[in-house]
C-alpha cells in the first residue's frame, strides 16, 4: 500500500473520530496542533487505526510518535 493511500485512510479516521468533516491533517502535525486530539481521542484514534489496517501497534511505538508522519511510518512498517 502506498504511503499516500495510508495517509488518505488515516485522514478519514481522524475526521470521523474527531467529528470534524472539514479537518485536513498533514504529516507534520502532532497532538498539539489539532483541536480535540487529546489523550482520550488519542486512544480511539489508535484503536480505529488498528481496526482499519488490521494491525496491532506495540506500546513503545505509540509513545514514540511525535506526529502523524511517525504514525504513518509505523503503519507502513506493518503492512
Amino acid at each position: 500500500m502506498k504511503r499516500q493511500e495510508i495517509f488518505t485512510r488515516v485522514s478519514s479516521i481522524f475526521r470521523e473520530v474527531l467529528e470534524d468533516d472539514s479537518l485536513n491533517i498533514n504529516e507534520k502535525e502532532g497532538a498539539d496542533d489539532i483541536d480535540d486530539w487529546d489523550s482520550l481521542t488519542h486512544i480511539m484514534l489508535i484503536v480505529e487505526t488498528e481496526k482499519e489496517f488490521k494491525i496491532k501497534f506495540i506500546s513503545s511505538e505509540i509513545s514514540n510518535w511525535n506526529n502523524i508522519g511517525d504514525m504513518i511510518t509505523a503503519i507502513e512498517d506493518k503492512l
Binding site: 467529528e19 489523550s39 482520550l40 480511539m44 506500546s59
Partner: protein
Amino acid sequence: MKDYKEILKNIKKYKNNDFKDIELSLLSDSSTQYLVKFLKALALENEFNMKLWDAPIDQVEQQIFNKKSEFHKNNHTLIIIFESTHSLLRKYNLSNDKINFSDIQFSRIQSYLNELSSLNKDVIFFNFYEINDYVFGNFSSLKKNSFIFQLRKLNFLLSDHLRKLDQFKILDVSSIQNRIGSNNFSDSALYINYEMVFNINGNYEVSKKLINLILSKKASFKKCIIIDLDNTTWGGIVGDDGIDKIQIGDLGIGKAFKEFQQWIKKLKERGIIICVCSKNNEDVAKEVFLKHPQMILKMDDIAVFMANWDSKVNNIRKIQKTLNIGFDSMVFLDDNNFERNIVKDNIPEISVPDLPKDPSNYLNFLYNENFFEINNYSDSTSDRTKFYKTESERIKYKELSSDLTDYMTKIEMKSQLSSLNSFNIPRVSELSQRSNQFNLRTIRYSESDLLKIMKSENYFTFVFELDDRFGSHGIVSFVILKCISNEEVFIENWAMSCRVLERSFENYIINKISEFLKQKKYKIFLGEYIESKKNKLVENLYTKLSFSKLENNKYSIYLDEFIKLQTYITSK
C-alpha cells in the same frame, strides 16, 4: 443499539439541552475517562444530563473516610464504586496470606461500604471481572490460594452480603466480560500505557449496563410481555403446518423456541404478566398450549390470550384495557417486521424490539436489550404467580357464596400492621412505584426517601400486610402521615395494591390509624386527592371514608367525631 461512535456524537449534538440532571460520584482505582464519556453520552440518549464527579484515581477509601474530602463536599446521593481486578491482582501479588486474601479484601471493602450505608448513599458496586494468572495451570480453580479461587470467592462474598442491603446494587461486570469475551473487553496495551482496564468496547458495554441501573429509578417499569405465536413462540405456522409439524422441543431449531419459552416462564415467575397476541384461529392456537407435549408455556401462564384475525393494534389495546396498565410498561415480541411497524406506529409508547431474523439469536438479543430492569429485587414480587393461582381459587369461592358479607367473613382476612423498617422498605418503595390506581397523591418514594422518612420525627408510617385463608398477600398498602402541628396530621401519601380492593380494607386502615391518632391526642386528620391519569378510582375515596370535603380536593376528619367504619378484617 447504536455503536459507540454514534452515541458519542450526542455530546456535541445536545450541547445545549434542557434535560433533567442526574448527579452522581464515581470512585475508582483505574482510569475512567472513557467510562465517564460513554455514560454522559448514554444519559443524553435517554434525555438526561449527567453531572458526574469523577474522583481522582485510586482514592476510594481516602475520599470516603476523610470527612473533609471533595466527595463529602459534593454530597451526592448516588455513588458508583469501581475497583478493578488489575489492582486486586496487584494487592494479591503483595499479599502474604493468599489463602485468606478474599476475606481480608472483603472486610476492607465492607468497612467503607458500611460507612456509605450510614450516610444513606445509594451505591452501585462493580464486581470483579476475571483474570486467571494460571500460576497453578489448569488446577488454578481448585487451589485455594490461587488468584482465580480468591477472586471468585470475593465476588460471591460481595453478592451474598449486598443482596441483604437495600441501598446497594452490584453491576455484574463479570457477566459482561463473560458475554462479550475477554478479548473484546480489555486490552493489555491500553492497561499498561493508560491504566485503562477495559478497552473501548468493554467500556461501552459496561456503560450500557450501568446506565440501565442508574436510570432504573427514573424509568417506567416493564410489567407485561406480549408474545406472538407462529415463528416467535414456536417455529412454523400452526394453522398451515398443523400441530404435529411445528418446531418446539429438543430437535434442531425447536431448541431455540424451547429456550425462549423457558425464559418467558422465568419472567412470569418473577412477576411479569405474559399475554398472547397472534393472528390465528383461537381454538387452533390454544390447542398447542393444551396438547403439545413439548410446550413449556401452558394456558395457566397466559393472562390474556388474543388469537383472532383482528389487527394486532386492536388486540394490544384490548389487552391494555383488560390489565389496566400503561402501554409504556409493555413489551411486544413479534418476528414479523410488518406487524411490528404497525404496532410501533400506532402505539408509540410500547417497546417493540426488532427481533433478529434467526430464532437462535432471539435470547441473546433479548438478554442484551435488558428490558426487565428492576429498582430492587423484592421477594414478594416473585410470589405473584402463586398469588394469581390462589386468586383464581378466591374467585371461585366468591361465586359460591351468594352473600358478599358471608364471603368476606368466611375468608378470614387478617391484617398485620408495622411501621417502616429496613425489611419492608424495598416492598413499600415498589408499591409506591407500581400502584397507579389506588394512589392518592402518586408520590413515588425511592428506598432512600423512605429511609429518611423512617428516621424523621415528623412522620408516622403504617405498613399493612393482609392474609386470608387462601394465603398471604404480603404488604399491600402503606400510609405515610406527616405531622403538621400538635393537633393536625396529613396523609402525605396512601397507596394500595389493587389486588385487595373491595374487601373493606380501606375502612380497616382508616380505623386503625384514627385509633392510633386519638391515643396520641391528635384532633384533625387531613387528606388530599391529587388527580393523575390513572387514579380516578379513588377520586371520592375520602368522602366514602366519612371525611368532609374542604376546598381544592382536600378532606378532613375531626377525630373526636369519628365513628368506626364497617370492616371484615381483624388484626393479627
